[in-house]
Symmetry: C2
Subunit: 450 residues, 2 copies
């Protein structure tokens, strides 16, 4: 490199966690970005960037990758309901009333929150994907849209036809940043034939498939009684299991299910806070990892979580296994950080492009504040505790700067690509309208429900 060809962006003086295969860490280093890719890590690049950000000793790491979420609107609405009542009385009426204008507002809200929480790539499974993708064009986030196909109950989701039309229209519009997948909601809400058609179409268009699988015990029991199979075995028999498939939840698995997922190179999106809040159960993540299954973390939707805080997901992924296995050694912090970055990227088929900081990879980078009291103390040397503070103490609000493809989406907590002040009333208006349309604007909280 020479001085006539400087970097587009230089991040100076960061505590750089690369998340490369060796977990290489530079206690104080610079990162240079050129043409949207990382082109140098380590040396002093002072004065070499057209734009320079002083990381001031804060943590510099790959952007977080959210492997499962729905861009829903009505957060904090009708809480503390049992799953089936929640689905039937709340979710399905909302889904049936949802219009594109609501989804546009929801996408703005969700993508703003993700930028503010250091998520640089997300896998969305919900409605009106063209609305959400249009917002991603503005927000600058890297995104995979898998329209949520629901045949039963009718009208509650997308159709195979609308999903296919979206794939055809958007597949090559923003190569490498906006991806189009198929999103059959679950084997209990779609027919075997639809799954098989999707399998064929996904191969034809060379895209991925995202589906919910084995989330609740009720689902397992229903499948056992209807088909004599587990949901995993059912999808295996339909020929759906492949490295193209990412399954969300995978909470209730037999040993044979785990073997099938590993054998067919299926990826799992683990959503610990959703699994707790909806009382679904504890996914056997250590067993999946031991069998060689790739696992990435997801936030699930703001209806079930309720925030999109990947730091909280990391923390809960660790704490939930410790509790469930009565073993404080279960699921250590460095492993869950990989499940939110490099492993998550691999789950989405993007392991070559993103998920770690390495020369040649896309410049998806975040800076996280280590100078806040709840991140103290930072210890140097062999007892370095930066990963520990990130996983066990940080929150989404500690992310200072979010960069995708070398473009700064947020700098020092100011979102640059979306207008937060203009979006707030849009979100509130759309939420009130959707609550009204779905007849849910008078639903009291549990203590008042009786």
């Amino acid at each position: 490199m020479d001085d006539s060809n400087p970097f587009d962006l230089v991040i100076r003086q960061g505590h750089v966690l690369t998340l490369d295969p060796k977990s290489t860490c530079y206690p104080l280093a610079d990162v240079g970005v050129r043409d949207g890719a990382i082109s140098a890590i380590g040396p002093d690049l002072s004065g070499r960037g057209r734009v320079e950000i002083n990381a001031n000793g804060n943590a510099v790491l790959p952007g977080l990758v959210n492997c499962h979420m729905h861009e829903t609107l009505l957060r904090g609405f009708c809480e503390d309901l049992p799953l089936m009542r929640w689905l039937e009385e709340i979710c399905f009426p909302i889904d049936k009333s949802l219009q594109p204008k609501h989804q546009r507002a929801a996408a703005y809200m969700n993508q703003l929150e993700m930028i503010r929480g250091g998520i640089t790539t997300f896998l969305d499974i919900y409605r009106y994907p063209a609305q959400a993708a249009a917002v991603a064009l503005e927000s600058g986030l890297r995104a995979i849209f898998s329209p949520q196909i629901i045949e039963n109950p009718p009208g509650a989701g997308e159709s195979l036809e609308s999903n296919l039309a979206f794939v055809q229209e958007w597949k090559d519009r923003v190569p490498g940043r906006i991806f189009t997948w198929f999103g059959p909601h679950a084997p209990y809400s779609n027919s075997a034939e639809t799954y098989q058609q999707i399998s064929r179409l996904a191969r034809e268009y060379q895209v991925g498939i995202h589906t919910h699988l084995a989330e609740t015990l009720d689902e397992i029991k229903m499948f056992q009684s209807k088909t004599g199979k587990t949901p995993v075995a059912y999808l295996a028999d339909l020929g759906l299991l492949s490295d193209r498939l990412v399954v969300a939840h995978a909470v209730h698995l037999s040993g044979e299910d785990i073997h099938l997922l590993a054998e067919h190179d299926v990826s799992v999106a683990h959503n610990p806070s959703s699994n707790m809040k909806l009382a679904s159960g504890v996914a056997p993540i250590p067993d999946l990892l031991a069998a060689g299954v790739r696992v990435g973390l997801g936030t699930d939707s703001n209806l079930s979580n309720n925030n999109l805080d990947m730091f909280e997901e990391m923390r809960l992924a660790a704490m939930l296994q410790k509790l469930a296995r009565r073993d404080a050694e279960a699921m250590p912090c460095d492993k869950v950080l990989r499940m939110a970055t490099c492993e998550a990227a691999a789950c989405l088929g993007l392991g070559e492009q993103i998920g770690s900081l390495a020369v040649g990879k896309r410049a998806d980078i975040i800076i996280v504040n280590l100078h806040a009291p709840h991140m103290w103390p930072i210890l140097a040397g062999p007892a370095s505790n930066v990963i520990e503070q990130l996983v066990y103490s940080a929150s989404a609000g500690d992310v200072l700067t979010t960069i995708v493809d070398g473009k700064i989406l947020m700098r020092d907590r100011q979102v640059l690509t979306l207008d937060e002040v203009a979006i707030e009333p849009l979100v509130h208006d759309a939420a009130h309208d959707l609550a009204r349309c779905s007849g849910l604007d008078r639903t009291p909280r549990q203590s008042e429900r009786g």
Copy 2:
């Protein structure tokens, strides 16, 4: 009231959650403060305060009350260890090396974090209480110090003598804001005689007692084999159970234990994230509440949690019961908000003074941002979801302003009573020194421990 006698402070235009017995909520109201107490809620007090804060529609609620914490220093240090190794290899060596200068730094760090997270009152059980109380004089927080008495292993904690000296010296120094209790660590680290002496002294000095109880299954088994009793029954037989006692954890309880706690009006400090991370178990909170036991939330220490985020504790208190009972209706959000405010205050014997917003109560008030994307949408009317957003989506970092006794400790995220910039190097230096003194500065993380 007349214009010649204005309020010392007026908080304008807040979404006021009083947490009074009827959970009265004012969607848009003002709060007036005079002489450190709340003197008006509701009417338009525009232009009537010597100082006015515009809450701008954000949530205004009682300060959070942290019923169990230790002001420890070495956060994020030697994580993911089993409890007994963690205690013996990490905690006890640290405790034996701890000097007053370390504790001063730790108190600064912990109190800064609590102010920044909207905690206005805390119950501390740890070391060198005079150091920590001196910091509380500066920070302005309301605090109860219960020096952690540990007889076994020797040298790991305070002694009954040092605790008594602290009570005598500090009991009446800052009436109503700094309280001195007795803090026997646990029945397994102190003798029966010590507990009985403490019981007598606490009555004599009219102060409270804080202790750990029934935290792990190992503790229950040890007690059963040594005494044939549960730890609760053991303390009951020593005459310790009374409304003066706050027990931390209470994870493993028999039906008879619960009956004893209720009968003797003992309060429980519930620490859900610590119980998860240390793999202790799930406390039977719904059963305790059904029996009439008062329960407040605590963060536990930054060694076991690792932040002091009461919003996360609220969320986990709800989610943990839902998971453990496979019931999404278990522990609804409005109940856990009370466990972090009015019920917590009652646990600490301060139910008349703090814990809710009511005329005559002390002005311990926080303002929480509702204008951040992860708090959207805010719905009006019967579907009002402010409590839902606070419990299921907010974090400590969403607290804008923290007020104790009418004094503003933090305004718009700027701490006014402590100098954050000056404290940071003090904390890092003390932490490095303590790690060195305790021989733990070369301890690698789990994946490198082998």
